[in-house]
């Protein structure tokens, strides 16, 4: 349960961009307007995959001021747990789906004198909305976007045609690399940096910026973790008085929801803190994977983020 009302939508368009990425466009099923949002926001898309409910967060990439439709781009992850595969294989124009209200965990710092966007692969999507927002507000921005190859460069043509001075593209297969130190060195004071892409890229940008003396608050990043599979385990939910089994392929949060217990969540990716759950008792080891709890909380055995973290051991009792 995420508090806000869900939005029933209809799929308006399914547009394959390349071998891996497909864009999905939604409008409200009741014909009304969708909420405006801020660049960097995501929506949680609910899927009914047979008996398995799936809820995946995707960055909104459409114009935040356009209330007629939303667009997301989904990269097919053949090794993932199946959400992106379901979107690619089973979602068609005219299908009705349910999405969440927009939530932004990666918003622009509007005090910035300049916004510097660094994207890797599918990490381009939140920037597409942020660029539209900056264009509307008249703010200064620059994009550095790395793709594996020309063929896999989603939205490269659109970006370089519309923003030839601001958008810079790098192709891995042509050995093109962002010269990050030089790029950071050349920025005006008051620039904020935003990075979205693979974990290695995020770490690289954060480390390089820190080494160059950038303030921590000026570096923003978004990394959604997908829940990872693991050994099955058993959990007792003390408040609801239920004992549930968490399967190999599902997250603890999904197992709680499957048992009919209404648990809070927002991002489902270990970042927002909404699903934080108190541990009442345990014998075993936690496999913490979230970005929310700090190191001390991770070793305390008092809290767990059920959206991405797991447990191995005999007993786990949660305050839920």
């Amino acid at each position: 349960m995420s508090g806000a009302q869900k939005i029933p939508v209809t799929v308006m368009a399914v547009v394959p961009l390349n071998e891996l990425v497909t864009r999905f466009e939604f409008k409200r099923t009741d014909g009304g307007l969708l909420p405006t949002f801020s660049g960097g926001a995501h929506t949680v898309v609910e899927m009914r995959d047979g008996d398995t409910p799936r809820m995946n967060p995707y960055s909104l990439m459409s114009d935040p001021m356009d209330q007629r439709s939303y667009a997301i781009s989904v990269r097919r992850d053949d090794a993932g747990r199946g959400g992106s595969l379901f979107m690619h294989k089973n979602v068609h124009v005219g299908d009705e789906m349910v999405i969440s209200n927009p939530v932004n965990l990666f918003s622009l710092d509007l005090r910035a004198k300049k916004q510097l966007f660094i994207a890797g692969g599918i990490g381009i999507t939140p920037f597409l909305a942020q660029i539209k927002q900056m264009e509307r507000l008249g703010g200064r921005w620059e994009l550095h976007y790395t793709c594996r190859s020309k063929a896999l460069g989603s939205y490269v043509d659109e970006l370089t045609t519309q923003h030839p001075n601001e958008a810079h593209v790098y192709y891995d297969d042509q050995e093109q690399r962002i010269d990050l130190t030089a790029l950071l060195d050349g920025q005006p004071i008051g620039t904020h940096v935003y990075v979205c892409g693979p974990k290695g890229m995020i770490d690289w940008v954060r480390k390089t910026a820190a080494a160059e003396g950038w303030p921590r608050e000026s570096i923003h990043y978004e990394e959604f973790l997908a829940p990872q599979s693991g050994k099955p385990f058993e959990v007792k939910l003390a408040v609801s008085n239920k004992v549930i089994q968490v399967g190999e392929q599902e997250s603890l949060l999904e197992a709680i929801e499957r048992s009919g217990v209404d648990a809070p969540y927002l991002c489902r990716g270990g970042a927002c803190g909404q699903c934080e759950t108190r541990v009442i008792d345990y014998t075993g080891n936690f496999i913490h994977r979230d970005h929310w709890l700090d190191d001390a909380e991770h070793v305390s055995g008092e809290k767990i983020m059920p959206c991405v973290s797991r447990f191995e051991g005999k007993t786990l009792v949660l305050d839920r």
Partner: protein, 356 residues
């Protein structure tokens, strides 16, 4: 239901008054016979008919006079309304939220006509009919936040969200319980709450901040807060303490019932969509002790809460010196009977006062 707007003042002759309807819908803040801080948040998704919870932005009989009082405060002290440069977008968000909400919730009083970016706003109680271009400041007589909050009851703190904190970067603050926007502007959540006693030790603010950072679009929240004010003053600001602070010494056992007011804030929280900022409307409702004691449950409970409140809180809320006089007054109504749980008056089930 049609609203009859009062012609009244919140200064000088204090002609402010509550009608029977206003008394019935007054947000009595104590759900039991004692009070301690808590993060008493709930979803702000409507409420009982004609309660202050029913609409997103409650409009009541004090509307026109409160807006007149705000204009007087701003004329004397323009720094009561401030917006740092990066908060203009949040101001437009707020303008849109209020115009859409009021025109939908009170179609007989407010109208919003939109054609793309060309907007027309009609505010009948205040005699306003303005056309402007959305997101173009030059087409409004004030900045967007100031424009709309000169027409909306309650104070407005507009909080930027960044670095896992909230920042007091804009606001319209003219009806406040002794805090200053000009002092707090630019501070973060922990900085501006630093003066509050006891709550820090209880971890209240850490939990409250976590909650607020997660307020979502489409899921506003609310809570009640309270203090006590001598005379129905809206503007109890630090800037004007020299004017109103002295009035606390003017009460006598004969005047305490009429002069001592319970001041209740309906605090709501809305995520603003385009800016990802958070707006925190703080709506002030005033009611005299003598009017409150007309409701038996509230008469009993008010006495018990004021009597048992820890000294730190009575000091922080600024009434410890007058507490004995208030208790003398309130105790004459408290017959010792038990009260029902919850804030509602329960007029049909609570027995009449056996005393007073």
């Amino acid at each position: 239901m049609t609203i009859q707007f009062n012609d009244e003042t919140f200064r000088d002759d204090y002609s402010f008054h509550n009608s029977d309807r206003a008394l019935k819908r007054f947000p009595f803040p104590f759900h039991e016979d004692s009070y301690m801080y808590s993060v008493n948040m709930e979803q702000h998704q409507g409420g009982p008919s004609d309660s202050i919870y029913e609409k997103r932005f409650d409009v009541d009989e004090h509307y026109v006079s409160e807006m007149r009082d705000r204009a007087i405060v701003l004329a004397d002290d323009p720094l009561r309304c401030q917006s740092l440069p990066h908060m203009t977008l949040a101001g437009w968000d707020l303008l849109e939220l209020i115009m859409v909400s009021k025109s939908e919730d009170y179609p007989d009083l407010f109208e919003l006509h939109r054609d793309g970016d060309q907007w027309r706003w009609v505010n009948k109680p205040m005699g306003i009919d303005d056309s402007f271009t959305f997101l173009d400041e030059a087409t409004l007589p004030y900045g967007p936040m100031e424009y709309i909050t000169r027409q909306t009851q309650g104070d407005f703190a507009v909080l930027d969200q960044r670095d896992d904190n909230l920042w007091m970067d804009a606001g319209m603050i003219t009806t406040q319980a002794d805090w200053s926007l000009d002092f707090d502007i630019g501070m973060n959540f922990f900085e501006w709450h630093a003066p509050v006693p006891l709550a820090h030790e209880k971890g209240i603010f850490v939990r409250a901040l976590k909650f607020l950072l997660n307020i979502q679009q489409g899921a506003p929240a609310r809570r009640l807060n309270w203090t006590l004010t001598v005379n129905p003053l809206l503007d109890t600001s630090p800037e004007n303490y020299h004017k109103w602070g002295i009035q606390k010494t003017s009460m006598t056992p004969e005047t305490v019932g009429a002069k001592q007011h319970l001041r209740v804030e309906l605090q709501t929280f809305f995520r603003l969509p385009r800016s990802n900022a958070l707006v925190f409307p703080i709506r002030c409702y005033l009611c005299s002790f003598q009017d409150l004691t007309k409701t038996p449950k509230w008469a009993r409970r008010l006495h018990r809460v004021i009597r048992d409140l820890p000294d730190e809180l009575a000091t922080y809320k600024g009434f410890i010196d007058n507490r004995p006089m208030m208790l003398d007054y309130l105790s004459q109504f408290d017959d010792g009977l038990p009260t029902s749980l919850g804030i509602w008056p329960d007029l049909d089930t609570e027995p009449p006062l056996q005393k007073g």
